[in-house]
Amino acid sequence: MILLRTVDLRKQFGETRACDGVNFVVNKGEFLSLVGSNGAGKTSLVNLITAHLKPDSGQILFEDHDITRMTVAQRIKAGIARSFQIVNLFDGLTVFDNIALSIFSREGKTVQIAALADHDDEVRRETLEVLGQFGLRDKSSVTAAGLAQGERKLLDVAVAYALRPKLLFLDEPTSGVSTGEKAQIMDTVSSVVRAGTVTAVVIEHDMDVVFRYSDRIVMMHEGRLLADGTPDEIKADKDVANILLGAPLSA
């Protein structure tokens, strides 16, 4: 069942075509990896889908509804959340509060001005649950700025996950961390996401990670979709191999 579909989506920055008529499909329940070399248009595509950028033309359909003109807040309400390539946290708040805020926002409770945040037992219980799922419970009272890079990456994903989205975009969740931490982060993220029946789209450069965790892989090149298939199909695709090795595409 199709969850999200883009139709002829285009975005140009000067002479550069970041998205050049992209028809991208995400099926419900899958763990999809979006790959491609730097500048392929992966982050631009995610930015367009999450309303961080406005498309020049084309359509974005989510659950068969046109969301092309929706604001960030409306898309979040519809069920689309994201994490960022460069960790984006509330550094002055504790790890606990980073997650709690996400839950308050999802529940529409951030407008509460005359109630103490720590008196909301439901939010506290759910926050602890999310922290436990991401292995961050021991760090709950530490400020986000005080976390190690790997933990910050996990918290970044956890903040987006706490919105309980239907579709979660993770922009390079393992960039800037050690090889050992990569596996740990991806194990945690994939188990939480799959257990929570969330559809996930991961932008990733590390092909070992991609092949290990993905149900399906979509490759972008110069603003277009180049390949789409299972990890085995992608492994066998010569164009993909050529791009990854820097060789020219087959005719």
Partner: protein, 330 residues
């Protein structure tokens, strides 16, 4: 928010009650002049508390808060001159919506921008108000300002006429301001510890991420501006009966600078910072003015030292000192 269990409010309540008790008994020991100064200090603390909701919690530096202080003061002066109102409660009840309205308007214009653009907008808007007050002398009294007679307190139950009325007013007014101050502190504490307050801090720390949690940034900033301006306006309402006169000077940009100074002095990253800053600044300025004709230079030196030596303000420095002493304990 405490990670596992709700944090006990008992120590906080005990400390607040103790501070309130100290403030309540102080006039018996410090004399009338010091009581008057302390009243000014508490009023400055209310203004700074409101200002700091924007600076400390929302990350917006306003250079125009003199406008709200001034509009509060002038609202009282107009009520007294044009409508013959003498009740302090009426001053507050009418003055607050007036300042809220102006804050809403200025906020609507200003929160569309951040950083220096926000600061300049607030400065410009406040200076428009200053110019109008200064030039429309037939309405505002111009540079002569407007006199405000001593009001009645508690719906007319306390009147101050006859011999010794000034002394009685100063004493009674101190407690009146102290009660309003306590209520303001309580309200602001709840606001900054509410989900709304948490969202403001999130906007301060990372606007982009806050937007991607579905928080409507501009609307939240506008509400914070509205509350902030109204608190500062209340300070203006309380200030003018004590001062007996309001002039355009309180709308002029150096007065906005004093409010910024107050928050920096106490420490804008701590809830109690602006309170301490308000009281300390009042004494500092009063004694600087009494000591030297170059008092502005003296305050300037203090400001420079503050930024260089105590960037987290008095409260921030004390907190760090306490934390380091705790760490040293075996």
């Amino acid at each position: 928010m405490n990670p596992v269990a709700r944090r006990s409010k008992v120590p906080l309540l005990a400390a607040s009650a103790l501070a309130l008790l100290v403030l309540a008994v102080l006039p018996s020991f410090i004399g009338l002049y010091q009581t008057q100064l302390l009243t000014y200090g508490l009023i400055a603390a209310i203004a700074a508390l409101g200002f700091n909701l924007l600076l400390g919690y929302t990350g917006l530096l306003s250079f125009g808060h003199s406008a709200f202080f001034g509009i509060g003061a002038y609202a009282v002066a107009f009520l007294a001159r044009d409508f013959g109102v003498r009740s302090m409660e009426v001053y507050i009840l009418i003055g607050l919506p007036v300042t809220a309205l102006l804050s809403a308007l200025f906020g609507y214009i200003s929160v569309r921008h951040t950083r220096i653009f926000f600061g300049i907008l607030t400065l410009a808007l406040s200076q428009v108000l200053y110019s109008l007050t200064y030039k429309w002398f037939w309405v505002t009294g111009g540079s002569d300002g407007l006199r405000v007679p001593r009001p009645t307190l508690l719906a007319g139950f306390m009147e101050f006429v006859g011999a010794g009325s000034f002394q009685r007013f100063l004493n009674a007014y101190y407690y009146y301001v102290l009660v309003v101050f306590a209520i303001c502190v309580m309200i602001m504490w709840v606001i900054v510890h509410s989900p709304f307050g948490m969202a403001l801090q999130a906007i301060r720390d990372n606007e982009t991420r806050a937007a991607f949690l579905g928080i409507r940034i501009r609307r939240f900033r506008w509400i914070a501006f509205l509350i902030s301006g109204t608190f500062t306006g209340l300070a203006g309402i309380l200030w003018v009966p004590l001062n007996g006169l309001t002039t355009p000077e309180i709308l002029y940009w150096p007065f906005s600078g004093e409010i910024v100074f107050t928050a920096l002095l106490g420490g804008f990253r701590a809830f109690t910072g602006p309170i301490v800053g308000g009281i300390v600044f009042t004494y500092l300025k009063t004694y600087a003015v009494a000591t030297t004709e170059y008092w502005q230079m003296l305050l300037g030196v203090v400001l420079v030292l503050l930024v260089l030596v105590l960037p987290t303000g008095i409260v921030g420095a004390l907190s760090r000192l306490t934390a380091s002493l705790r760490r040293r304990k075996p």
